[in-house]
Subunit: 276 residues, 2 copies
């Protein structure tokens, strides 16, 4: 068994499956493609049923299972739950019930924050469902029991990013309203607990003390995936760049443009699947 | 046949079915309950899959058919499509394929605007999908071929209402950005083409010339429903107030509070249906 796995090391060309409620998870794909350029990726964005962030835990779990089953049809070798709402509602379930390595976005971001903080005061901003789940709080407490955690929901950030208002006075005013209670808390580390938020990174940083360190899930998640693939001898090394196939449950106008903003490269291969 | 219908006139106690992608359609229910207080209503809010406004026509049509089938199980006597996105994507289909009176929100609002306008210059604000469908434009042109129509999407209005930011400086700034091109157009009538927008009525009116008349779908739709029930001898008269049953495909936190804001009364009877 060990020998067989060794032979396959670096040659496991099956794709990595990634899903999100929409296109925000492409910020995670962007980092995976930087870190693991020869890996192929199948991405599923559940645009027909987005946003997940305002829905109940049961509903998000049910959607997440369906998304996983869809990706499994494409013979994925590992799964990345690139959505904070799904990570909080479904990660444990997916990890225990499906027979493949599963990486979420909450664990890696929480680990990165726990390592970075000096004062132990960590703030988390995310969608309503992620905050209500207290997933970051629980994970951070497990990693660093002395940590003090402040949580706050920012429901307008996702629509602002989707409208393309990632800068300007109105966005700055909204950011200021949402960051106000958090500033009073004097955290030294802020987790951007939603895959849309990295696009507001500059404006958020500008409105905080310069010493506050921002952590988003994208890079820590890609790093976690790399180490899990390595550990399970599931890597694929090649001189050719891996393929990226995007499936979406709906494809409204402008979504390709928004997707390219998240991904940082052209979206060439996008297919709509109506029934998943 | 005629005699039979006559006997039933005023005694047709079956409920009216109303659906929307979420709870915005309760602004229409509110007017129906004012105008037709003894009628019972079954409302379905497809919260698990909202918002419809950013999705494709095919997707919205498919959701709308499912919602109609769900309401038909409850033996409704008439159907109100209390969602602009569904009205634009699905009204014609539902009207021709289902055997009951169907009322949308676009026709009644367009008729009201066509009657009100003096200059013939009508503006419409709505979600992206309603604007892209050009449903208001086509309907207005049919009603008043000389009309000049200006259309504009306001994607942040729905999340602002759902966040409860229906007043204040930031909302005023956002309203001003979206109304700017419309003011230059010098319309004398503005259609609020989304069932969430009536909650922003004051702030919108404040930022327009006082002569601009605002039209929302709620009252004209309730009036259209009343006349269709009358014509089909499907009314129910009683001294008792009709029942209101609310079904939703998901029930996240805060949604009852938001729903009560739309409905203007307590939401007592809310049931979650996971599979529709």
């Amino acid at each position: 068994m060990k020998k067989k796995l060794k032979v396959r090391a670096g040659k496991e060309s099956r794709p990595i499956g990634v899903f999100d409620s929409g296109l925000g998870g492409l910020t995670v794909v962007r980092e995976i493609r930087r870190l693991l350029p020869s890996e192929s990726i199948i991405y599923f964005g559940d645009i027909a049923r987005l946003p997940y962030g305002i829905k109940s835990k049961e509903q998000i779990l049910s959607f997440s299972i369906q998304n996983t089953l869809f990706l499994l049809k494409h013979k994925i070798k590992a799964l990345v739950v690139a959505c904070n709402s799904s990570s909080s509602a479904a990660y444990s379930f997916l990890k225990s019930h499906f027979n493949l390595p599963v990486v979420d976005v909450i664990g890696p971001a929480a680990s990165a924050a726990a390592e970075l903080t000096q004062s132990g005061r960590i703030a988390v901003i995310a969608t309503q469902s992620t905050i209500a789940s207290r997933a970051y709080e629980k994970t951070l407490k497990r990693l660093k029991s002395s940590a003090k955690i402040f949580q706050s929901a920012c429901p307008l950030f996702v629509p602002l990013v989707e409208e393309g208002w990632v800068d300007g006075k109105i966005t700055e005013d909204i950011v200021r309203v949402y960051l106000e209670p958090l500033k009073r808390y004097r955290a030294d580390t802020l987790i951007l607990g939603c895959t849309h938020y990295p696009l507001l990174k500059n404006i958020i940083q500008r409105n905080l003390d310069a010493k506050v360190q921002l952590v988003d899930s994208a890079l820590p998640t890609a790093q976690k995936l790399a180490s899990i693939l390595e550990k399970n001898e599931l890597c694929y090394h090649s001189s050719r760049r891996g393929k990226l196939k995007i499936f979406v449950s709906d494809l409204p106008r402008n979504f390709v443009r928004i997707g390219e903003r998240f991904l940082g490269e052209k979206l060439n291969d996008v297919k709509v699947v109506r029934e998943i």
